[in-house]
Amino acid sequence: MPKGDALGGFEQLILLALAHLGDEAYGVSIRKEISARTGRDVNIGAVYSTLDRLESKGLTTSKTGEPTAERGGRAKRFFRLTAAGSSALEESCRAIEGMMKGLNWGELA
């Protein structure tokens, strides 16, 4: 991956959520997945602006689902990792794992 295309922290969280959710990844489920796993109350606007950026980088794809009544007749937009997205996520996670090796959390503060 070129230097300028390195994943940001929030991009990494979004891609990890997509990996966990599989075919059920849309705005609400992604937001909830991140909130449940990180304890952060993530904004849906932040999720969508990041998803749009990831899609423009070719790391995700999306398709529109069927409209539902509980959403006021509006459709969901489902997201999936592309092969490039999967590789970028793996590379990014390995980099973090590498950086974490040998750290002793108790001695950091």
Binding site: V28, N43, I44, G45, P67, R77
Partner: protein, 154 residues
Amino acid sequence: MTRFLFAVLLPGASEHLLGDLEEEAQTKSKFWLLRQVTEAAAYNSNLLETAAATAFLLGLPLLLTLELRRFALTLIPFRESAEFSFSALLFTALAIAALAAWETRLLGGRWLPVILATLLTAAIAALTNLPAILTAAAFLGGLLATLRRQGDIA
């Protein structure tokens, strides 16, 4: 309430984003929804447009209410006072109705925010006497923002 919030704070937002917010609004508090919508407006980078569109919704009827009322009062002969006149009231009501219809068209047929804004504006106009220059500036800013959002100007 939710539809009004979306129309005013998230004009032009995608249907997926609005659908997600509507879905979550059923299980979350109104305060949570307001915070999410406000932050989403910031992430959509349309806060300025939102402010201008809100000013437009409020400012246009306010401007016309004040100015047309003033104009209408000058047309009435032998008036003792400019406090109230039935014809001025009728003229203003017709002007507001015409403007509301025009605003509704500009906003893509979304009539609810226009009606609410018009009612609010009528209340403000009845209780205050703001300088017309402020409402004129709000009108121009809001109009430009609306036209820009619609893609009519760059």
